[in-house]
Symmetry: C2
Subunit: 657 residues, 2 copies
């Protein structure tokens, strides 16, 4: 049925009388009750304890255990069939995890082995605590980059590697603590302030920063800047042209092309996901053999070098909670924590939506946080749910977190027996792997989409992007977040006020600009305020309303303004300043001989207005209506009865009935 053409139904004759419905305040609630309700909505909007209601104690205990350890939910009915697919996907992500782990560790200026450590313990922890079935856990490029750059500002990883490592672990510890407490304190909504627009801009910027860092290994430069920004890196690249090694460059280009091709294949044909998934490991193997064969390191191709064997050594003794660097590690922990958390949660939500199950944000935060706390005491640096890895995991048909366990076992085997093989792996290939991985973070279509829909969001995105490239990762982010928060505040300080008109033949009143057919009603000025009224906007609202009135007075035919109707359906809240706004407005209007009428004030608003009313009545039942239609109708009938000359406005109304 096409709504615009009228569908006439069996219509019968009814005797309509103009009835006026009253605005009533909501049923009384004590301050404590309100406070409780508010608290619940703020911190427990998902109502996690719902499932416990009306269960036996025994059942409650089981549910509780399952709530804390999701593995107890799906573990019991885990089948061999599920394991098969988990096994395949586990091996696949392992083949990606090993080279990525080594590369990202280098990105964070940490020994390559730490990257592998971080792909061993954390996945096991997540498998027990995590509620996502697709998340593949491990170190990620952005968090690695940020941690490396922040720590490097105060400690040199080359001059004092031990201290640097200690600080990295301590930062990881704080990141974990911070993430877990966000979840426990139910403050998960804080990460919502990293809006989609910000993330797109930030990720693109970070991708470029990361790729720039790879120029060191891709060009085989030995003296490279410690800074991250576009300008310093570029200058250091072109001031060291004499260091460029053509062998390295050649090798780099070859593998870069190989990896990018593999990526394209998998993008074109999702069934061939394993091509891009396997490519990194393959290129590591090939390049290693190549270097070993041609004694590449003699031709200026730098290699990883010796890596000690064995699984993660305990690192609890390496956490430093004292001394000069405490501030630094806490700051680093906070920022890397929130960044990795955002990526982890976003990835988790994405795949949950894809496969139609729910992940509990706050629970995920606790899982990820705990994972990092454990990691920090087992020689791992900050880890989270990695986007690229999880995508591969999902494509490879992972069914449960068991794929994480398979991956971590594979990594363990590598750590125990296969480390010597990596001795001749050239750094240039690791660089190529990173570049290929992060290029996927640049999402042009999304940027265009944002431009089309919301220009301001686009600006925020650009700010994040250029901020990250030219200033610094954390500052760029901070500015972008500040800007988008400022926009929200601006919407409050400058709320929209629109003039409503009557849509002919109905009782519907709508925005005059939007609905051209809507018509003014002489003697009435009908305004709709579209924001909570509070200290931040009463001055503006006052000036704006007075301007509406003055503009009225200038129009001759409307000069006989009698009533101002404020449609308050959109005023969701009000504070003491808001109350005083109405009081002042009313007195100003009385001086002009205009009466103030309120329509449909919502629960909280009418409640407060009535409370404030006890001392001075500016809310009487005859200037308070439930709908604009009723207000206009009853007021114009009074106008009629009062004034001898009857306005057309009233006529139309009466005609309508």
């Amino acid at each position: 049925m096409e709504p615009n053409n009228a569908t006439s139904m069996h219509s019968h004759c009814v005797d309509i009388t103009m009835e006026v419905h009253q605005v009533v305040p909501p049923p009384y609630k004590s301050t404590l009750q309100k406070f409780k309700a508010r608290l619940k909505e703020t911190f427990f909007p998902d109502d996690p304890l719902r499932q416990f209601q009306g269960q036996s104690l025994n059942r409650k205990l089981i549910l509780g255990a399952q709530y804390v350890f999701p593995i107890l939910q799906w573990g019991p009915n885990y089948t061999l069939k599920l394991f098969k697919s988990d096994f395949v996907s586990g091996l696949t992500i392992a083949s990606l995890a090993i080279p990525q782990g080594i590369s990202y560790a280098k990105l964070a200026n940490l020994p390559p082995i730490v990257g592998l450590y971080s792909s061993f313990v954390p996945p096991l922890v997540y498998a027990v605590l995590g509620s996502s079935r697709d998340l593949a856990v491990g170190p990620v490029s952005i968090a690695s980059l940020v941690m490396g750059s922040m720590l490097r500002q105060e400690v040199s990883p080359t001059l004092d590697p031990l201290l640097f490592l200690q600080l990295a672990f301590t930062s990881t510890f704080f990141a974990g603590i911070f993430q877990a407490s966000l979840g426990i304190l139910r403050l998960g909504f804080i990460i919502d302030f990293l809006s989609k627009a910000i993330l797109i801009g930030f990720m693109a910027g970070a991708a470029i920063i990361v790729s720039l860092q790879q120029l060191k290994s891709l060009l085989g430069i030995t003296h490279f800047t410690n800074q991250m920004g576009l300008i310093p890196v570029m200058s250091s690249v072109f001031h060291n042209i004499h260091e460029w090694s053509w062998q390295t460059i050649l090798m780099g280009i070859c593998f870069l092309v190989l990896l990018l091709l593999a990526r394209q294949v998998s993008i074109r044909k999702p069934k061939l996901f394993w091509v891009s998934a396997g490519a990194p490991l393959v290129s590591v193997i090939i390049s290693t053999l190549l270097v070993f064969a041609i004694k590449g390191q003699k031709h200026g191709i730098s290699v990883i070098g010796k890596l000690q064997q064995g699984i993660n050594p305990p690192s609890l003794n390496m956490l430093r909670f004292h001394g000069t660097y405490l501030g630094l590690v806490m700051k680093t922990g906070l920022i890397t924590g929130i960044l990795s958390l955002t990526e982890g949660i976003a990835v988790g939500r994405t795949f949950a939506a894809l496969r139609n199950y729910k992940v509990d944000g706050n629970k995920e935060m606790i899982a990820i946080g705990f994972m990092n706390v454990v990691g920090s005491s087992t020689s791992c640096y900050v880890t989270t749910g990695a986007f690229s890895r999880s995508a591969v995991n999902n494509n490879a048909g992972a069914k449960t977190a068991v794929s994480n366990i398979v991956m971590s076992v594979t990594v363990m085997v590598t750590l125990l027996f296969l480390m010597p093989l990596f001795q001749y792996t050239p750094n240039v290939v690791l660089g190529a792997i990173i570049v290929t991985a992060v290029i996927g973070l640049i999402d042009i279509p999304a940027a265009i989409h944002i431009w089309r829909i919301d220009k301001f969001d686009f600006i925020v995105m650009l700010v994040a992007f250029f901020g990250v490239i030219f200033i610094s990762v954390q500052l760029g982010l901070a500015i972008a977040v500040g800007l988008s928060t400022f926009k929200i505040l601006l919407q409050i300080t400058r709320p929209k006020t629109v003039m409503l008109g009557k849509i002919p033949g109905t009782d519907i009143y709508r925005n005059l600009d939007q609905y051209k057919e809507a018509e003014r009603i002489p003697g009435f000025l009908i305004l709709s305020i579209e924001a909570p009224i509070n200290f931040a906007n009463i001055t503006y609202l006052n000036e704006r309303t007075l301007r509406w009135i003055e503009e009225e007075d200038n129009i001759k035919e409307h000069s006989n303004l009698r009533y101002i109707i404020l449609e308050m359906s959109a005023v969701s809240a009000i504070d003491t300043s808001g109350i005083s706004f109405f009081r002042e407005l009313k007195s100003t209007l009385e001086k002009k001989g205009v009466e103030l009428v309120l329509v449909n004030p919502l629960g909280e608003v009418i409640e407060k207005l009535k409370k404030a009313d006890e001392d001075n009545d500016f809310i009487r039942t005859d200037n308070l209506f439930l709908t604009v239609g009723e207000a206009v109708a009853s007021l114009s009938s009074t106008m009629k009865s009062q004034s001898s000359t009857m306005t057309e406005g009233a006529q139309t109304i009466v005609a309508h009935y």
Copy 2:
């Protein structure tokens, strides 16, 4: 007429057919047009150039001049009659200004004479530029206190008085620059963030801090703490009991009682305003004579001492824009500037509203700012429209800013000839004057009012109060502002979503909690979202909506949920994240076999939804309606035609027609 009982009008029979009106996007505007409109609403809501429209060039020039120098508006038609009342009020406030000036200067740890200087030049400047007729200009207690305390944290006024004076003048200069630029850049709304609640708490706190500082002179203590907080002051008071001088205390009590009595008299009988207005000068004269007679200073009563004669020396050469203290003076300027600005604007608005004329906030800021810039180069420290003084001014019948000129001339005469008389004025009396002045800032009834209307505002007020008393003036303020801003953000991150029901016998849908008679319609879940939808709240909205639905499913009789209607009249804005929210919600609902229906999306919202729709249609005309009534009606008719079993909901609807 009583609205609740139905007023039956001439009702005639009409043949109603169920008509469905379409939601239309607003007429096309280019990004630039939108941007301009937004800019205007943000920075020129009062539309200051309105009066210039359609005037001759000549007239425009005159209007322009009058706009910059309000004195040109009222000057020409100034009469002797007006002058008489201005003269009286001018003298009255002068008698208050002289002792207050001396006292407040001491409060700011500045030489007393500076207080008099500051009551001479600034009033003249304001008389030319200011647009308020009642504002009496001069130094004020709070700004003096804050400036004194902030500067004293880094420089001792006793050890290095010259440097301290230079910093005070420089801070005043920056305060003026800051105030003026706020006005010029039309950023006046920034001071709105000091809400009424904050100011009440802050003023009360400041009053107590100021009074505590007076214990030094009231008890005659010589070794007094440099700090402001309650605890340090109290401890220093009781650690120096041996320094207390009974003569000083006795004198202090006498004059304190005298002044408080005078204040009471004027509060009881506003006609006797001159009693409290004159009291300070009277007590200064009496106490001075007394001390002179009994050689008080020999009995341990400390006096002001010699004051040099003559009017303001130029102080341009004393402004320091370099060196270590630049940061300090800028910070001090910023904070004292915003504080004095807030007081000035608030006072101006209050009396303007009282006498029904308008003051232009941004123009006032420019006037006050310029006043302070000039002041800083003529040995004045920060000044503004003082509340107590303006109240007296208004009571004394001031008609124009001429009263300020009269006051400043009187002060000039004092500076030129009467300074020696103040040599024997005891500090204890000045202390008593300050205490009496600031006690008026503690507004208990207002606090109670706030408690009754809005508990959160009350908490903010307490935070400001205790923050000022126990931490520091600027930090206490900052925390309070942060808290109230956080509340606004919380309203956005946790928007209200309420379930609507049909008010029987009407087409009106309202909140089910608020309107008990309203009834659900089976098969429908009607939700109203009461905030802009953006990155900060989509996660919450998603969870909340899903919870609404799950709760539905648990109720057996509603389990046949077919449609979710989102009433969007209160969604004033949306961003790209908001768009994605709708897309995700729609797909989730489709999985549950529920259809998403939108009602009355406002201009901006429908516009963006349609834009986003170009690639994937989730907005079709048959799930987009102008009112809930029409949506329910037409949807239940389709339901009827589809499903063989017809729900009662549809019946009621049909019955209604």
